[in-house]
């Protein structure tokens, strides 16, 4: 018989070890999955996890790691604040899109003027766009008690339609010969987020690092971070302590929306380049996995974001070299979250195996 016994205190060691164990188990399960798909599991795993960093073309893939990791980390840092407080923003994808549209919109409005002020303005607009989009579920939750999970998610679909509308209408490239999509911001020096495109460095990475540090300080040193954690652990105790739930909801959703908006802005003015229908590739959802995999801890999220970026890049390589379907990587990422959640049990409970009848 298996019995669970609650630990008097959550185990810190296991709290750090379980993400690693989950990754290992996911590799095994993923290997089985790839084998079932008729691929050599060892080759597939090596292609995904080894080749991008140490393989022959690592010089090309390594910077990609940061390119893909930056938006994931940026979004996940924001989400983790809310998740810690029990506020579930799962519409980061929508905020990411809105940040991109607003930021790109501001940039394109100035085209072709060149000025050092344009990019900072775009950053502001991107953050504001994401923030405003997240404020919708936040205000509805605060005013009417509406469920933020459903509202933020519905707004993803709305944002996707807006994106389509923008790339076909308002922001369409006037010189684009009727093709959908905006001007490419990479061809507009004042509006690009690349610091050094050849090295794969853009401002999003800088902001991701700043977000990690900021979030670390906030959660560990500041009373606001304490209040966020307290609200998540024990909402009644938080109110007794004097936390204003309204302000906390507005802050957490606003911050995560702004960060997702920033991620969208840096993506659209850098790696992606233009407003187009297929601009968003699900970073807002993958960031949820990143946030959990990183244990909602800023440093953990940084590592988890890089790992998840690795699976994206490795997945693409595997797609090209081995014909592994792209959806296999999605399944792989989903499994990772499953195993992580299942293993979470170990941090709070002891599993005891008892033989029946010895009593």
């Amino acid at each position: 018989m298996i019995a669970l016994e609650k630990r008097p205190m959550p185990s810190r060691t296991l709290s750090m070890a379980t993400p690693l164990i989950a990754v290992v188990i996911t590799m095994i399960a993923g290997g089985l999955l790839f084998a079932a798909l008729g691929k050599n599991p060892f080759e597939a795993i090596r292609t995904i996890f080894w080749d991008p960093i140490f393989g022959e073309f690592a010089f090309y893939y390594r910077p990609q790691l940061l390119v893909k990791g930056a938006p994931l980390v940026l979004i996940a840092i924001g989400l983790s604040l809310g998740f810690k407080a029990g506020i579930w923003n799962i519409g980061a994808e929508g905020q990411y899109i809105m940040g991109a549209i607003c930021g790109a919109g501001v940039g394109l409005a100035f085209y072709p003027t060149e000025s050092i002020l344009i990019f900072p303005l775009m950053i502001l607009a991107g953050a504001l766009g994401g923030w405003a989009w997240a404020m919708i579920p936040a205000l509805l939750k605060v005013k009417f008690g509406t469920n933020e999970i459903l509202v933020s998610l519905m707004l993803v679909y709305v944002a996707e339609q807006l994106l389509a509308s923008m790339s076909l209408g308002l922001l369409k490239n006037p010189d684009g010969h009727g093709f959908p999509g905006s001007r490419n911001l990479n061809d507009y020096p004042s509006a690009t987020s690349w610091i050094n495109e050849a090295a794969g460095l853009h401002w999003g990475m800088a902001f991701a690092f700043i977000a990690v540090i900021f979030s670390y300080v906030l959660l560990n040193r500041h009373i606001l971070g304490f209040n966020i954690r307290l609200t998540g652990e024990a909402p009644r105790a938080a109110r007794f302590s004097g936390v204003n739930p309204t302000r906390l909801i507005l802050f957490c959703l606003g911050a995560s929306g702004a960060l997702a908006g920033l991620a969208g802005l840096f993506e659209i003015s850098g790696p992606s380049g233009q407003v187009s229908i297929d601009f968003n590739v699900g970073y807002g959802f993958t960031a949820i996995i990143v946030a959990f995999l990183g244990r909602l801890h800023p440093v953990g999220i940084l590592l988890a974001g890089l790992l998840m970026a690795l699976t994206y890049i490795g997945g693409e390589i595997a797609q090209g070299n081995l014909g592994l379907p792209s959806s296999a990587i999605q399944v792989f990422q989903g499994m990772l979250l499953f195993f992580l959640l299942a293993l979470d049990l170990l941090t709070n409970y002891r599993v005891k195996f008892t033989v029946k009848g010895t009593a």
Binding site: E5, P8, M9, P10, R221, H222, I223, L224, F226, R229, L230, E233, A234, R236, A237, A238, R239, F240, S241, G242, N244, A359
Partner: protein
């Protein structure tokens, strides 16, 4: 008494780190009212859960009318004739009385028949109850009636009652005892769990006393003094708190016309509450649970803000201020629910010290937390209040109820409150810790704080209060000096028998026999 109904022998149940029951043995005769006596944590609840089939013993045996008795689940226990009235009610707020009763029965009749039978039984035993009412709207006493009727409908051979009087007014207790005596006369055995000695002396034929999971003695309560039983139960001679000063100062807290809608659908509305508390005074507020205690504490602590002039401290209107602003003015509070309200279960004691201590202990600057100062504060609480724990890094949930309560009360006391509001300060706490907490409250009053103690333990209130009032359905009775109040007067302040006629039981006795 004709024979033995249930015989328990050598029952043992261990949980990690604690032996809840250690070779406990006793017999319950047919038609006997048997008391199970012990402090909180003595293992009473675990023992009855084993009888009821909720928990399986590690070793030991039970026999029921001479046959081996090992109920694998409550269903089997109920089938044998065991019925249980739970301490923390096993009721469903959103369902109606009849549905609640049906859930506790093996083969409930159709809802219509069931409603009729509920009415019949409730009249027979003097426990009026409307089967169609939603349970969440009932008073604590009425909720208990639902549980009792649920049991009675199954013709139990053994009725287990876990601390039944903790939610009743003295008048309601009297009615309950009449019902129990009637059941006894009909041949039903009752296992009566309590730590209230006078009750046991009035009601029970036999008593088994548990301490730290062990059977430490048996007695015939009517022939044993309360003091002897208490010493068996506690294993020590009790210290009664000492009071030093009688001087009362200025009015510090002035509550007038406080009315408040509850925040949850089954909460209690506070209705036009008035009272004052002077410096150095302890105001005891009694009343059955669920009559507005939580709401009053929330209004005083600032969790639910109200009109500015409803609450004044030293003449300043504070009713609209939040908890932290009030803390700044010296109004501190300790809610009833330790885990989840007064303290965050998974957070360390240090973090829990910060939870209310940030303002008065200056633990933050510009919003940044001074963690070393917070650790010091937590260590100070632990040391001053003798909280048994390895250190301030331990999670709150790892502490025993009594130790956490000492921490929670100590945390507020050490912040030098001008006004302190505590709800159920010694609930579920062992006698030694309870005495320490009461002493701390008395000392604090002696140093000039105004204190409000909300409690359901009338003995406690009488012991430490200067003045006494009671909450009943969100209203506060007149406040009267505690000294010299009789139990009847207190009962009436608490709302009397809540509309039940005491004589009813006697009248219908013949009819149902």
């Amino acid at each position: 008494m004709t024979g033995t109904l249930l015989s328990i022998s050598g029952l043992t149940k261990a949980y990690p780190g604690v032996v809840a029951n250690d070779t406990v043995s006793f017999d319950i005769g047919e038609g006997e009212v048997h008391a199970l006596l012990g402090e909180n944590g003595a293992g009473k609840s675990t023992l009855v859960k084993m009888i009821y089939g909720l928990v399986k013993p590690d070793s030991g045996t039970m026999t029921w009318k001479g046959q081996p008795f090992t109920p694998p689940e409550p269903k089997a226990a109920r089938a044998a004739g065991v019925a249980m009235v739970f301490q923390h009610f096993s009721l469903f707020d959103a369902l109606n009385v009849a549905e609640n009763v049906a859930l506790g029965m093996e083969d409930p009749p159709q809802m219509g028949d069931l409603a009729r039978r509920i009415r019949e039984v409730s009249e027979t035993y003097g426990l009026p109850l409307d089967p169609n009412r939603t349970v969440g709207d009932l008073s604590a006493g009425e909720r208990q009636r639902v549980e009792i009727i649920r049991c009675l409908l199954q013709d139990p051979k053994l009725l287990i009652m876990d601390e039944p009087t903790s939610v009743l007014t003295p008048q309601e207790v009297e009615i309950l005892f009449e019902t129990l005596n009637k059941l006894k006369a009909e041949g039903t055995s009752i296992l009566y769990i309590s730590h209230k000695l006078e009750e046991i002396r009035t009601l029970c034929d036999h008593a088994t006393i548990l301490r730290l999971g062990k059977n430490v003695g048996e007695c015939v309560p009517a022939e044993t003094s309360a003091r002897d039983m208490a010493e068996l139960m506690v294993g020590d001679t009790l210290q009664t708190p000492t009071r030093t000063t009688e001087k009362k100062g200025e009015v510090v807290l002035d509550v007038s016309g406080l009315s408040l809608e509850p925040s949850n659908p089954f909460g209690t509305t506070l209705k036009n509450i008035h009272f004052t508390v002077r410096a150095g005074e302890i105001l005891g507020l009694g009343g059955v649970a669920g009559n507005g205690q939580d709401e009053l504490l929330a209004a005083l602590s600032g969790e639910t803000p109200t009109w500015p002039d409803a609450i004044k401290v030293k003449g300043n209107e504070v009713g609209n201020l939040g908890p932290n602003a009030r803390r700044g003015l010296g109004i501190l509070a300790a809610p009833e629910e330790r885990l989840g309200h007064a303290a965050a279960p998974d957070m360390s004691l240090t973090e829990n010290a910060l939870l209310t201590g940030a303002i008065r202990e200056n633990l933050t600057s510009n919003g940044f937390v001074n963690w070393s100062g917070t650790v010091e504060f937590a260590e100070n609480i632990i040391k001053t209040f003798d909280v048994r724990t390895p250190g301030p890094h331990v999670a709150a949930r790892a502490l025993s109820g009594g130790n956490l309560q000492k921490f929670v009360v100590g945390r507020e006391v050490l912040q030098r409150p001008e006004v302190l509001v505590v709800n159920q300060p010694t609930w579920g706490v062992d006698a030694a810790a309870a005495a320490a907490i009461r002493q701390a409250l008395l000392d604090l009053a002696a140093n000039g704080a105004a204190i409000i103690v909300i409690s359901q333990d009338l003995d406690e209130l009488m012991e430490i209060s200067d003045r006494f009032g009671a909450l009943n359905e969100g209203r506060l009775s007149d406040i009267r000096p505690a000294a010299g109040l009789s139990i009847d007067e207190i009962g009436l302040m608490m709302g009397g028998a809540h509309g039940m006629e005491v004589a009813h039981v006697g009248e219908t006795e013949g009819a149902s026999a």
